[in-house]
């Protein structure tokens, strides 16, 4: 679908991976950013969903042919972007969540681990049962960054809290997500961190079904999904996919498009810890803020891979 003033300057095309729109999360967020930009800059914004993997390249190519900038949303498009970018050196590309070495590709990477770390801190302090649950979609890098960041955060404030990790091997099976969530709650976890796209929606069904307000929480990932289970979202670990897309378009409009890796963390406002409904107790919030300042002044570097996680140690709080 396409929005924006038709007469306006040029077209920007977003290409999704096979998951496609509707996750009310990653892809929808990117779409939101583009739609916003379309209104602000009067460009035309188009989304091409990929019916399968072979469709990545033709979709990207279609994007190239109808506009100067093509936004590839998702780690899985890495190779396709590299391929098409090489084929069209003077076209501009932005890829979210992946790094592509090419001087016409802007790789927008997020330091999810920073926000996830703060989320871990908050969760580690909020848990009553001293048990936390992670539900992953598939263990791809962005998910890993979330996971290890969160675990590091928890350990930083509550070393003896237990973290139960379960993967659905699927970003699109909410019923399975729900079963995982129910099992986690039944197992005693009281705060869930679903990093699983549509599968994560199942966690919200689970918690609203159990309906123990104030005792069990789910953490919003990327963006709030409070509407899926009103009153049960403890806080949000935000990932500004929308801003990433928006900024890329903005640069294109102002002719300031720069290739290379754009790493967006808390400092750049790319990710962040948010408590839209004021459910995080004040003292815990202050804890979170101290760690946030440590991340900002570089005295704390949240781990982003299993290796970094192994060697990670919390610096003595200054």
């Amino acid at each position: 679908q396409s929005v924006g003033a038709q007469d306006a300057g040029f077209t920007v095309t977003m290409v999704t991976d096979t998951a496609g729109l509707g996750d009310q999360n990653f892809n929808d967020l990117a779409n939101a950013g583009g739609t916003q930009a379309a209104e602000d800059f009067g460009i035309e914004w188009k989304v091409l969903e990929s019916v399968d993997i072979p469709a990545y390249v033709p979709n990207l190519t279609a994007g190239v042919e109808q506009g100067p900038l093509t936004v590839a949303v998702g780690f899985l498009l890495t190779d396709a972007v590299a391929q098409v970018a090489a084929q069209y050196p003077d076209a501009h590309f932005a890829i979210i969540d992946a790094a592509v070495e090419a001087d016409n590709v802007q790789s927008v990477l997020y330091r999810e681990q920073e926000a996830a770390f703060l989320g871990g801190v908050a969760a580690g302090l909020m848990t009553q049962t001293n048990k936390l649950g992670i539900i992953g979609g598939q263990r791809i890098p962005p998910v890993i960054r979330y996971e290890v960041g969160f675990r590091a955060g928890v350990e930083a404030v509550n070393p003896d809290a237990e973290i139960v990790i379960a993967y659905a091997d699927d970003f699109g099976d909410p019923d399975k997500g729900k079963e995982l969530a129910l099992a986690q709650f039944a197992d005693g976890a009281d705060i869930l961190f679903p990093i699983a796209g549509l599968t994560g929606v199942g966690a919200y069904s689970a918690i609203s079904e159990l309906n123990n307000p104030g005792e069990q929480w789910v953490i919003g990932v990327d963006v709030t999904q409070e509407h899926n289970a009103p009153g049960f979202e403890a806080f949000v670990v935000r990932k500004g996919v929308d801003t990433g897309v928006y900024q890329a378009i903005e640069q294109e409009v102002n002719g300031t498009f720069t290739a290379g890796v754009h790493s967006l963390g808390i400092a750049e406002g790319g990710v962040g810890f948010e408590d839209p409904n004021g459910r995080v107790p004040a003292e815990i919030m202050t804890e979170v803020e101290t760690f946030q300042s440590m991340i900002l002044d570089g005295s704390l570097v949240a781990p982003s891979t299993d290796e970094e996680y192994e060697v990670f140690e919390v610096p003595a709080a200054g």
Binding site: P58, A62, L76
Partner: protein, 372 residues
């Protein structure tokens, strides 16, 4: 006179086929209208996107390639009297095997590496098919069910291999794919500026081979006899079990090659996603009346739908799932028209008459060995 018979059959086939596609597109138009888009622009976009440019044509041919393999795979099994629903899984196994083999970067010369990779794929797919054949031969297990089960098993094997075997196999769990194939194992591009690769030629070659096998060799005769009359086959001393097992191996091998042609040709590596041609392949076989050359044409039709759908989505804003809808409609339309003989009998029934229909199935004109 037999020739006139045949040519009449042929024109009949062509007519019904065209009619079926037309019907399918018409009903499809209703859906496009439903989604408040203009069918005319949509279908124009489809043609544009499929044939509008050199690259479009390349894309269409590239998109048709896997259907050629799939359709052939289905046809071979069908001629032997088996319904191979498992082409999806056989493609996965073939693609995975080829992907891993090609990613090993063995220092083989191109002329060796590619054939070896293809062979590996054919064997992998073939075995996956032969399992279903053997099960039917041994315990009469219905191949439709076994192949469906084998599909899901194949998907499990795929994701297991890609996610859990990093240590000892050339896979990249993060990307959920095999490592990129060695350039020496890649099928060469055959139309510069497009993604069209030698897989197409391989497919056409296979069509030729399958035709020769089915209609010119003693084994082909045996296969077709077994497929049409178990009793007559036994009478002529043809071993049913062995024949269907081999037939399923060939069918699976063709599927495996299809997977390999995607992995080594189009994508360069095997991802953790079924290629998704398996079920459409049934339609390709059906639409192609399980005749190798018919299959090639049907594959072009389906390839066109697929490659055109990108343009449709882009220019007419139709949903990407429209391809599936159109494919489904094409199948139903063909099934109905293939049954048109039976349609009459059905009307006749309504009028209170009765015909003696065999339990024959759609999609084959048995007996007639098409001339080259």
């Amino acid at each position: 006179m037999s020739d006139s018979l045949r040519s009449r059959g042929l024109t009949m086939t062509v007519l019904t086929s065209v009619a079926a596609v037309a019907v399918a597109l018409l009903v499809g138009a209703i859906f496009i209208l439903l989604s408040q888009q203009n069918p005319v622009t949509a279908y124009k976009a489809l043609l544009e996107g499929a044939f509008g440019s050199r690259r479009a044509i390349g894309e269409t041919l590239a998109a048709s390639t896997p259907y050629i393999f799939g359709g052939l795979a289905f046809a071979v099994a069908y001629r032997a009297g088996l319904f191979n629903i498992g082409i999806e899984g056989q493609m996965v196994m073939g693609g995975l095997a080829a992907g891993v083999f090609a990613a090993w970067n063995l220092d083989l010369p191109r002329v060796l590496y590619i054939p070896c990779a293809l062979l590996v794929a054919a064997v992998a797919g073939g075995i996956w098919g032969a399992i279903a054949g053997a099960l039917k031969a041994v315990s009469g297990a219905h191949e439709v069910i076994t192949t469906i089960m084998l599909n899901y098993l194949a998907f499990q094997v795929l994701s297991y291999t890609l996610l859990r075997t990093e240590g000892w196999l050339p896979v990249n769990p993060q990307l959920q794919a095999t490592k990129p194939s060695s350039p020496d194992a890649r099928l060469p591009n055959i139309l510069s500026g497009t993604r069209l690769h030698a897989g197409l030629l391989l497919g056409l070659l296979m069509a030729l081979l399958v035709w020769y096998l089915l209609f010119r060799t003693t084994f082909g005769y045996r296969l077709r006899t077994v497929g049409l009359s178990k009793g007559a086959a036994a009478y002529a001393g043809m071993r049913w079990g062995a024949t269907i097992t081999i037939a399923m191996f060939i069918s699976g091998a063709l599927g495996g090659l299809g997977g390999a042609s995607e992995t080594l040709g189009l994508l360069g590596q095997q991802y953790n996603a079924p290629q998704g041609y398996g079920f459409a392949s049934i339609a390709v076989g059906l639409v192609g009346r399980n005749n190798p050359f018919g299959v090639v044409l049907a594959a072009l039709l389906f390839g066109t739908l697929r490659s055109g759908s990108t343009a449709m989505q882009n220019q007419a804003g139709t949903s990407k799932e429209l391809v599936l809808v159109l494919q489904g409609l094409v199948i139903l339309a063909f099934a109905a028209l293939a049954a048109s003989g039976r349609v009459q009998s059905w009307w006749a029934k309504r009028r209170g008459q009765r015909f003696d229909e065999g339990t024959d199935t759609v999609g084959v004109e048995p007996g007639v060995a098409p001339e080259l």
